[in-house]
Subunit: 401 residues, 2 copies
């Protein structure tokens, strides 16, 4: 039998909402055991974020919670109660990884900061996630994905040139940060495997946003260039944007001269293969003229015809899909990108971790947990007997009855 990469690695996960849960889901896909610690009451706020009736009735949680919490068990601890904090510290002493996204200083108030926990467990990989980092003038501020889309400059370069800036439609900063967390944890586990030593690792929405913007920042630092938004186009080459079709729109990208010639000949050489468009430099110089000429051609064809004709001659082309078309596209399922799990009577579909490993495939053992579903089971595995669990419950350390 194939062993998972992270078989035997235990993760104590205090993280909530998006970036942290997305990260620990990947660790779970890799075979780690994820113990999701939730507050009493509502638990992870993502459970009700944008919740729909169908999702609540049939799965008991919002789509975003269901998308990011497979392969985890849920346990309730009320960290305001001293005995709950003692349980958390005791569990951290026997886990390999701890993840949290409390504001800087929040875990120290509970006695669950790295310095304290590392005394009992020097092998612990302690992973912190915050908005702006744990030091510096803005470290005390909270923020979320869209705030960092604004702060990072991403919003300023997203939108039409003569219209206000818009957000990137999905939580790109949060989800990119989740893979920063995964990378940090895996790097620290590799280091621990070679040295025996744990450490503290961290990332932030700020670092995630800066990494997504890195080539714009470097360009600005070089010569002061401040790029602006250009709709679907960019400054690198022409054509490189969306064009209207009869029944939707398609992206056409042909930066190299030979690719542009193939594009012109596959669609309408008499209209497009002009000397004015010959080189990349020519095409940038005659941007408006080329876009108008190509638009005249594309608007007479269907999306399918454009994709077929241009795909066949290796011009980069794609239909502008809506969310449903994208989710149901056969290619995603064909490469194993869709995870299906039974939840009661229904099948839950979610997106696979964003990479594949030939010798150690991803696992999908557990569907997203109900709030506190595994509290007793987990306590029992950590050696708490029925009387001890009862005592914790009496103190409301596990939430109110």
């Amino acid at each position: 039998m194939v062993e998972s990469v992270l078989k035997g690695i235990r993760v104590l996960d205090f993280s909530r909402i998006f970036a942290g849960p997305a990260a620990t889901q990947v660790l779970g896909d890799l075979g780690a055991e994820i113990i999701k610690i939730e507050e009493p009451g509502r638990g992870d706020d993502a459970r009700t974020f944008g919740v729909t009736e169908t999702a609540m009735e049939e799965f008991g949680a919002s789509p975003s919670f269901l998308a990011l919490n497979r392969n985890k068990r849920s346990m309730v601890l009320d960290l305001k109660i001293p005995s709950a904090r003692a349980v958390a510290a005791d569990m951290a002493a026997r886990c390999d990884v701890l993840v949290h996204n409390f504001r800087p200083g929040g875990m120290a108030k509970f006695g669950l900061d790295y310095e304290t926990l590392a005394v009992a467990n020097p092998r612990l990989v302690y992973c912190e996630f915050s908005a702006y980092g744990t030091e510096g003038p803005l470290s005390h501020l909270g923020a979320n994905d869209v705030a960092l889309q604004a702060h990072s400059g991403l919003m300023s370069i997203t939108g039409e040139s003569d219209r206000p800036a818009v957000r990137s439609g999905t939580a790109v900063i949060d989800l990119h940060a989740s893979l920063g967390l995964v990378s940090a944890v895996l790097a620290a586990l590799f280091h621990r495997e070679r040295t025996g030593k744990g450490q503290r690792v961290e990332t932030s929405l700020l670092l995630s946003g800066a990494h997504l913007m890195n080539y714009f920042y470097t360009e600005y630092w070089l010569d002061g260039t401040v790029r602006q938004r250009m709709g679907t186009a960019n400054h690198l080459s022409v054509p490189n944007q969306a064009f209207p079709a009869r029944d939707g729109s398609v992206i056409i990208i042909a930066p190299a001269d030979d690719m542009w010639r193939r594009c012109a000949h596959a669609l309408a050489p008499e209209k497009l293969d002009r000397p004015a468009f010959k080189t990349a430099f020519d095409r940038r110089q005659h941007r408006d003229e080329l876009i108008a000429a190509l638009t005249d051609v594309t608007r007479t064809m269907s999306c399918k015809e454009l994709v077929d004709r241009l795909g066949a001659v290796k011009v980069n082309v794609s239909k502008v899909n809506d969310v449903g078309e994208a989710a149901d596209d056969a290619q995603l399922a064909a490469i194993g990108g869709v995870v299906e799990q039974r939840m009661g009577e229904r099948t839950l579909k979610s997106v696979q971790m964003p990479f594949a490993m030939s010798a150690t495939p991803a696992v999908a053992d557990l569907p997203p947990p109900r709030h506190g579903e595994h509290t007793d089971e987990i306590l029992s595995e950590f050696g708490y007997d029925a009387a001890a669990i009862e005592a914790l419950r009496a103190e409301e350390a596990l939430g109110r009855a």
Copy 2:
């Protein structure tokens, strides 16, 4: 002295343009030795992508190349020449990781596919990156970041509701994929440390895009909801979008009822603290009215005033920065997010890897290399003597003189 996490790990990097180079830069930041193999002639196409005069004159490469290629050495090999392919295979036998983004089947033509190389080096971690994956109906197609923004549905939810879809301004799919690659390589190295065995790992623009869209896909799969673009706003809560200030605009997010009350009281309670806006449900029901009322207030204030007032009461707020304001913001430098390296007379600034490790800090030993700068040095380290190098050069395996 602190040892880097990936000290002693040798990476043979055939990747070009964005996702692969961004990934191997992170591995280099973690202390791996990155050997960047480039074609003769222009080398990595990113060297000239959107190149500016300043960048070319002073650093010899484009901002995007400079942003993504520190901590690497460059070596030229012309894989069309048999002796160059033999050198590549020989080096792969003595490296720990190989990364490439040739189209599916491309490396097999050179005899550099995983199955071939693993015979001599079963410990090799072989990492492939493609547009749509290596199997399935679309696997033969090329694509780039913006094509997958379209294909994934991200573009359809980015933009104003009554205007055409736009792209996310930066290469989010490429850069997110880069951390998928980093995670895959680190997971495989961890597995190898425990088992002695290498493996093939892969990711794609398709998996990266699907991961960024995961909660939209899950929602669609649950009940058929197809979300649409909403400018800077989203469907989850109100207010949660950009508002105009006297001198720019700011993002204000106050999803929770108490946070909204703090927001109203910090700005203009007489205008904003209305019964119609009391609960999250009320605010969604009176979306247009609330946005109009809040806009009336914000447009009379400066960005700084809005950020100061709302930040002080822990409402999520951020100025919509342009690229320059974002790059120069003091917080990024304060958390170590900016790397400075000497290149001749100039200092190159680039963005740090997107996470930090307390015991094993990132290294920044080498600035981005000139094309083929280290060809002889690397060959010599791999045991090729001057006569062997001369013979390779005579065959044009190292490019033309």
